[in-house]
Symmetry: C2
Subunit: 727 residues, 2 copies
């Protein structure tokens, strides 16, 4: 193994070590008063209970899928025998990352609130470093798993002529992504339903009916609401990006292996390049984490700047480092353009999210203004703005695909450049995600700050403390919005890289099937001829009605899945409303604050509701690609995947941005515009905010998983669709 | 010309004659009291003023496009010289159909209200026959234009070897559809914005602020609201289906010409088959119109049954007739399966729309139930239900495409059967639309009944009259919902047929370009080889990043366009709100009913608002395909179109069904459920209804046009994308 590869395990160990150090440092801080400790313990207990429950379901699903994979591998012989194991480790590592990240977050919240009693800077640093635990655990575990598997498979899989060894290795490693994807599905869908059932339920009875403020300890659903932030925004977001990070690296490795079949030295370098870049990006992220600090009395702008500084330093350094890596590995310098494009696209999508959802800009202000004519116009203008806002990231992705392919292929868009061009798209996704260690830290920071605020509110800390936690929380809302945009953008680019690797896998199978190994055919025209054979054999062109049917089915899956998650929140929230109403009625002294509400019951209801409601949409996501493959074959799958990715991406952005804009339009009114708090305008925007909750935190983010999982499931079961199909 | 072709002009003349007869019969009825006459005159004047204004804009756009087409044809020589003329007649005939249909509707409303003073049966028959004027004018003018052009082009275009003459004729005739499409764009978008700006504006001030009922003559926006029903639901819907009817026939003719290049006798028959089937369907529709009657005191179910009887008789007879036509023309009997599938799919989509939007079924009742927790949950559950509801028509279209192609190709899905299979898809669209004469009559009946009710309300007619108009109106709401589903379904199937003809046109150009005329190559493998060349030359396969980019751009166009139309309604409604508030403030005696509000001013505001707001989205719809063609070429266009059709169809269904369900959830509460009128639950559902207005009547239906127009524009400018493109 060449020396440069060892950067990957080193990056893994460094990330995990710093995560451990930050965790230990955080644990040394005091949790504050007894009330603060008690509330934090409630939230911690609820979150752990939820995670335990969810992992039980996930384990059952994993057992079933592993059995199916074993049958495919050992019974039917249409899958590599390593697949079941790679699948299990992917799921297990993703689950571990979620577990550690959430532990850190739930231990941190009271400590951050307590640190805010000292100073804003102390609070910010503690919250951010606790978020960094999550960020670093995620990237560290991904790199660790990749390192181990690459070394193991390189050792056990025998040499094959014509570059087939590395193709096989990277194809097996992709199934590691399938494990991560499956675990992420339940984390995102279950967590998303949990958090919004609790939030919507708490708001509908607490704010609207009982007229008590948010995070009021008298509200029985308030602990469940805080638990929800952790299981949805920390564990769910972590699992989501764990998968994007893993899948982008692994898909690029496979695309690299396919692009350089004829040159074994370059092929090896092309396979390890994405891993090395991700590892260096991780080290630079650790550096960036240390850059984040602020001075007392900082404005929100200054706070945002200090977070941005860390991210930007990491980003600039990775641009330089990736050039050196490509140069060292002897890969075309055009690929560097693809990496930069990927990074820029990620930043661009984040920026557009901010523009469409922050109250500093026109779109959100217009939504706030429309509250003068009541809630209906607030909803209409939020939907209108959300739909328009989807066009910008779609445009960015279009430019990114074109340029990433273009740079890699010297802007010659034809079949002979297809392999290297698709590798460029994969590498762009790696570029976008290279600084995930620190980006994810800023994401996880949000719910930690939010929970710290909740803890301060419930523990009745002084106004100067709450002002500080409010400042941290407001900042968290901004990073959450850009983080969501980034998560969706990276999901789309990752899914496209996965789609490309799906095609490459099929092409390899097809070439093998025809008994025409690639190395026997030299030069461009030969590859072209093979390629035409392939396209024709599987008819994956747009004149084939099966492809069109597949595209329609992909769009159908997206709409069905979002509708189901949306309705799931409605039903689960309804149960929460009933329970809160029951407690207000039956527990005497609850409104006077003399009796404690039954928090645990609400936590239990959210947990059960989420577990029950997540099953149907999750099964659909897992089954559709398999069923479509069995009925319509590869052509149907090809259409299905691009239909899902394109429409799922657009719908996810629409939902996330509309939800974010409604949230901030409400805050804009609360700041004193259009009548301020308590006015009719405010009530209208509160309705918008509540509608936006499942948009931005359940259905929208769940689509990230759907678009990646459908491709993953197709990649892993490719042998099935090739061997058996009806039409 | 063979005898059977003459059925087409005969069908045209019969349809137009009966339209004229029904119109004359309707005009003989009395308009009722002076107040009734005055109100009807107000509405008529407003509607005519709007149409005049809109046609001015349309004429300017037509002049510009005609100049561009002339340059392409006479300057650059990359377009057939007949194209500019075919384009103009398409637009002119569509405009005429809208004009006559709206005239009939606006003359009918007071007469229907007056007929209801006699009996329910008199009211129903008059309203329905007035709607039939619209239905028959639309199908009559389409058939007339097709007859004339086919005879003219057959005479002037010289014989060419290898079936190229009929290919050329049908390609030129398709541009007739482009004219219809462009005029429909402005009719749907402008009419949609008009009607909902007036409706939302009237409701927000009238119902919510001033607390006066709908259609109250004291509301200054009430006339504009009634005008809106005519310009949106009559003229807009008519132009929409005019285009679907024309385009499905013409696309099928082209697909038929392409499928039988090698057999000139069969080729001719395949080209005229869709025209003949449409003509016979028209005659059977006239027969169906005469079947519609009811007895006094009929329940809504009986009313619905009597309308359904007419439609069903026509449908059953066309199934039999089309078998005979295919048999007589010597075409494969498998195509009959495609026709039946098309008809069945239309009915299925209509039924699913009814299930998801009628208050008799669970989905709408659940939305009504969610009003117990306020407007936010009403919106959430409406969005959830709407998203899920899109899955059903998508599934139906998937089955319809598969079976229509399958029946035509004996279920052999490969490249050699591509042409006949695609012809099957075209023929299925013709089948779905064959009974449009009567289906459109039931659609146009809705706004006529609605306006009759408005007239009765404003003219303060007795309660027994209003009960009758209410019964007619309630029926109209159901037919409007299924009509919307049918319009979207037929738009999707028509767009797919157009997409297939786009590919056939390109293939022809490509074959010509290679100087390998088809007739020189006999047998299946030869076509296959050519076909592979074609696919490869333009790279319209899913591994090409340009195709993927195109698909993303297609989805982007859909989201941008819907967001813009949605926001347009918001802005235009805001102006209406301001005006109504101003009148309430400045006109003394308006609330006491002693002074008349300034209706004309509100009509003017809606007219101006609609004209101004329709431009930006319309330009986007026209420009995107051209720009994408110039940058990305045919591969980009291919992706663009399928991206637009698939996601546009899904979004259109989502919006139409969510809007319809909210509307009926409100009515369900008004019927006395969950507290009935005036309760908090009712207020929550009123908010849902208002949100749903632009969903179901502006953005949703406008997407029908977008998906057809984008394909049309690409078909017509195919020479440009082939000759000039950047990548």
């Amino acid at each position: 193994m060449p020396l440069i590869f060892w950067l990957v395990p080193i990056g893994a160990v460094l990330a995990l070590s710093f995560a451990y150090i930050f965790f230990k440092q955080m644990m040394k801080h005091d949790e504050g008063t007894d009330t603060m400790k008690k509330i934090a313990a409630h939230v911690r207990k609820g979150a752990s209970a939820y995670l335990r429950q969810q992992y039980k379901v996930v384990i059952i699903v994993f057992v079933i899928i592993t059995i199916i994979f074993s049958i495919l591998a050992y019974g039917l012989g249409i899958q590599n025998p390593w697949v079941p194991f790679a699948f299990i480790t992917g799921g297990a590592f993703s689950g571990l990352a979620g577990f550690f990240g959430m532990k850190a977050a739930t231990f941190a919240s009271a400590r951050v609130a307590n640190a805010c009693r000292t100073s804003l800077n102390a609070g910010l640093r503690l919250a951010f470093r606790s978020g960094a635990v999550m960020g670093l655990v995620v990237v560290g575990l991904v790199l660790l798993d990749i390192s181990i598997w690459f070394l193991v498979l390189d050792h056990f899989i025998p040499e094959m002529a014509g570059g087939y060894k590395l193709m096989t290795i990277s194809a097996v490693m992709l199934t590691f992504g399938m494990g991560a994807s499956t675990q992420a599905l339940f984390a995102r869908v279950g967590g998303g339903i949990y958090t919004k059932a609790a939030d919507v339920g708490a708001d509908l009875v607490g704010k609207v009916e009982a007229n008590i403020p948010e995070d009021d300890p008298r509200n029985p659903a308030t602990i469940a609401d805080n638990v929800g932030d952790n299981v949805g925004d920390v564990a769910g977001m972590g699992a989501d990006l764990f998968e994007s990070f893993a899948a982008s690296i692994l898909a690029s490795a496979l695309l690299g292996a396919a692009a350089y079949m004829k040159d074994s030295a370059l092929q090896f370098n092309a396979v390890i390049a994405p891993m090395v870049i991700a590892a260096i990006g991780t080290m630079l992220s650790i550096l960036g984490v240390f850059m984040v600090r602020t001075k007392e009395g900082a404005t929100q702008k200054q706070l945002l700047k200090s977070l941005g500084l860390g991210v930007n330093i990491s980003a600039v350094l990775i641009v330089i480092a990736s050039y050196l890596v490509l140069h060292f590995l002897g890969l075309p310098v055009g690929l560097w353009g693809s990496i930069v494009i990927g990074l820029a696209a990620g930043i661009g999508i984040g920026q557009s999210t901010e523009y469409f959802t922050a109250s500093a800009y026109k779109p959100t202000q217009k939504i706030a203004a429309s509250s003068s004519t009541g809630p209906a116009t607030v909803i209409i203008s939020g939907v209108g703005t959300g739909l328009i806002s989807a066009a910008v990231p779609l445009g960015i992705i279009v430019v990114a695909i074109t340029l990433a392919f273009g740079f890699a292929s010297n802007f010659v868009f034809n079949a002979s450049n297809l392999n290297i061009g698709l590798y460029g798209i994969g590498i762009a996704a790696v570029g976008m995600l290279s600084t995930l260690g620190i980006t994810l830290a800023t994401d996880a920071y949000g719910p930690i700050a939010d929970n710290a605020g909740g803890n301060a509110e419930m523990s009745k800390l002084g106004p100067e403390v709450r002002k500080r936690t409010d400042a941290l929380d407001a900042l968290g809302n901004t990073t959450a919005a850009t983080g969501k945009g980034f998560a969706i953008g990276s999901a789309a680019l990752t899914a496209l890289a996965l789609l490309a690797s799906y095609f490459e896998e099929i092409r390899m199978m097809f070439v093998k099937f025809l008994d025409k190994p690639l190395e026997l055919i030299n030069g461009t025209p030969a590859i072209d001829a093979q390629f035409i054979d392939f396209v024709h054999h599987y008819d994956i062109h747009l004149m084939n009605p099966i492809v069109i049917v597949g595209i329609f089915l992909g769009v159908m899956a997206v709409f069905l899945f979002s509708g189901m998650t949306m309705n799931a929140v409605g039903r689960a929230a309804q149960k929460m409303v009933d329970e809160v109403r029951r407690q207000f009625k039956t527990i005497p002294g609850i409104m006077e604050g003399t009796a404690e509400p039954d928090y645990a019951k609400c936590v239990e209801i959210s947990t059960k509701g989420a577990q029950k409601e997540m099953l149907a949409p999750s099964l659909i996501a897992l089954l559709i690609p398999v069923v479509v493959g069995l009925v319509f074959g590869v052509a149907g799958i090809a259409g299905l995947l691009i239909g899902t990715i394109s429409s799922g991406f657009a719908l996810a952005i629409f939902m996330a941005n509309a939800g974010g804009a409604w949230d901030n339009a409400k805050k804009y009114v609360e700041e004193g515009h259009y009548g301020g708090k308590g006015s009719d305008n405010h009530k209208a925007t509160v309705i918008g905010d509540t509608v936006g909750d499942p948009f931005k935190d359940t259905s929208g983010p769940s689509l990230n998983i759907l678009i990646k999982l459908m491709v993953m499931a197709s990649v892993v079961t490719v042998g099935v669709a090739v061997s058996y199909h009806l039409l």
